[in-house]
């Protein structure tokens, strides 16, 4: 190594040290984007790459109207950052939301579909936005290195499916307790300022905690950690207690109307994943159930079938029959009932239901199976 190379390395080290010690710039307005330090810029770049990866895998849920609606809530909460904070619907049925260091918030369709009203959505968005405004990713010790490591891991696994796209995203959105508290407190202030009912904030997390407990979720994503959730609920309760005359907008009807189709989509996704626990959690709850207008009994029957416990056969039969009574033209219920009867050895009922299924759905993708079963039953 010659003297010039050594000199270059020395300059580089000095430069990196200077960068490392530069204070993190918080984003209170668009103008602050011009003053980001080196670490922030690197994180921003990594977040942009992650956006591209998400886009390549078609993980953004494509519903322009709903996205505009959710973005409008975010813009109302943070008018000074319109055009800087962006929200996308993430095509995942799990309960989660993340904010990347470049101001892109991804809210899972599973979470959006489970909220009760606009005020709860605003609670999530205001909380996530604070992570960006305070630049918590850049403030996290070793965060930048972790992101690079995560990026490398993803790179190594290139070409192999199912490696999990958001590894880097998980690292970027894994915050300390202090940062979470700050996001709760600052986000809550915005919620109140924007005129939403602050009493909905703790309800948002109570709801999530209940679901996490019922589903026995152990994944380390944002909303699933018990201590964090319980702490957060307590924190919100004390914040609400500090508001004199709490009240304000909730907008349940408008929210539920706008997210109606999304709820049906997530129901299909849970069934596709054989996730009977979530299906039962939703459809055995009369309040939640009434929000699912299209054939809830069919999905309930499928959930009983998948749970396959004692008496579930009978419950599934009852639910499929209910579905047929409610909508005699709904083909999947006949198929499900026919297969159930076939397994029970009730040949005639099986033949009737499977035949009805094929007559109602002549182009069914599983026609070959059903015809095979009918031949077996009739032989």
């Amino acid at each position: 190594m010659n003297g010039r190379s050594l000199l270059r390395i020395a300059f580089l080290c000095v430069g990196l040290a200077a960068c490392a010690s530069a204070p993190v710039v918080e984003i209170d307005s668009r103008a602050d984007l011009n003053s980001l330090n080196e670490s922030q810029s690197r994180l921003w770049y990594a977040a942009d790459n992650l956006d591209q990866s998400i886009d390549k895998r078609h993980l953004v849920y494509d519903d322009a109207e709903l996205t505009v609606y959710v973005q409008s809530i975010l813009d109302q909460l943070y008018p000074e950052l319109v055009g800087t904070l962006h929200v996308e619907l993430f095509n995942s049925p799990h309960l989660n939301a993340i904010c990347l260091p470049n101001g892109h918030i991804y809210i899972n369709i599973g979470l959006l579909a489970r909220l009760d009203n606009e005020a709860q959505l605003a609670t999530i968005l205001s909380h996530e936005a604070v992570h960006f405004i305070r630049q918590h990713s850049a403030q996290q010790r070793n965060s930048a290195d972790s992101v690079l490591l995560a990026g490398t891991s993803v790179e190594i696994l290139t070409g192999i499916p199912f490696s999990g796209t958001l590894l880097a995203g998980s690292v970027m959105s894994s915050y300390s307790q202090a940062h979470e508290n700050e996001a709760d407190t600052d986000g809550f202030a915005r919620l109140v300022e924007a005129g939403y009912d602050p009493r909905e904030a703790p309800k948002t997390f109570q709801k999530l905690l209940q679901e996490v407990e019922v589903l026995d979720i152990d994944q380390p994503f944002m909303f699933a950690s018990h201590p964090k959730l319980e702490h957060r609920i307590a924190s919100f309760d004390s914040l609400v207690a500090g508001v004199s005359n709490p009240g304000g907008r909730v907008n349940a009807d408008g929210f539920l109307q706008r997210t109606k189709d999304l709820r049906e989509v997530t129901l299909v996704r849970y069934l596709d994943m054989n996730n009977h626990k979530v299906l039962l959690l939703i459809l055995e709850n009369p309040v939640l159930r009434q929000r699912y207008s299209a054939h809830p009994d069919f999905y309930l029957g499928e959930a009983y079938r998948l749970r396959n416990g004692e008496g579930d056969d009978t419950l599934a039969t009852w639910a499929f029959e209910q579905s047929i009574n409610t909508d005699p033209s709904y083909a999947p219920a006949y198929r499900a009932l026919g297969l159930l009867m076939m397994k029970r050895g009730h040949k005639q009922e099986a033949i009737e239901n499977l035949s009805t299924y094929l007559s109602l759905s002549p182009d069914a993708s599983d026609r070959e199976y059903v015809e095979t079963y009918l031949r077996q039953l009739e032989s």
């Binding site: 990866s53 886009d55 390549k56 895998r57 078609h58 993980l59 849920y61 993430f90 095509n91 995942s92 049925p93 799990h94 993803v154 190594i156 696994l157 290139t158 070409g159 192999i160 499916p161 199912f162 490696s163 999990g164 796209t165 958001l166 590894l167 998980s170 994944q219 996704r269 596709d272 994943m273 054989n274 996730n275 998948l306 297969l339 076939m342 397994k343 993708s365 599983d366 070959e368 199976y369 059903v370 095979t372 079963y373």
Partner: protein, 185 residues
Amino acid sequence: MRIGKTFLILSLIALTGCQGLWTRVDPKAVAYKGDHYVVDLPAGWLRVQQNKIMLATRDGIGVQNITFVFRKHAKAFEETEQKSTPVMLPSELADRYVADLRAADEHGLPSLEIISDRPVTIDGRLGFELHLQFLNDDGLRYERLASGFANEAGFFVVSYQAPSLYFFERDRATYQQVLQTFRAI
């Protein structure tokens, strides 16, 4: 993040290269015994067997691979924790196989599409054949053929996977030939 055991094993094979584990299929002895099955592999392909999964590839597992999996009924679908039974209908086995694939992905593999799903006979038993496609992390479209059935011993699935562009069709016939030689024992 949830990652399936099968994926982890495949990743390990890919990342480490599994030095010393790979063997080239000898044209004079193509028959291999796996866990509860025997099968003839394509001559000249590379083969590796680890943790009850046998895998064969010609150019690398990201380019094409044929994978053989046997699972006991109680652990047939590890991600969804669903079981199989010897009398389970093939359409139900196919549904559970697809659900397990979706559940193995952190986000439910929203890019997964079922191109076809039909009954087939494998080793004299009624089973399923699925033709699937999905995007990997780089947005590269892959296709997979998966043929499965259940017997008294457990659930068997043989799958062939390759990028849609060029590679999938290139070795599809080879996979079908391999599948014809598959015998449960």
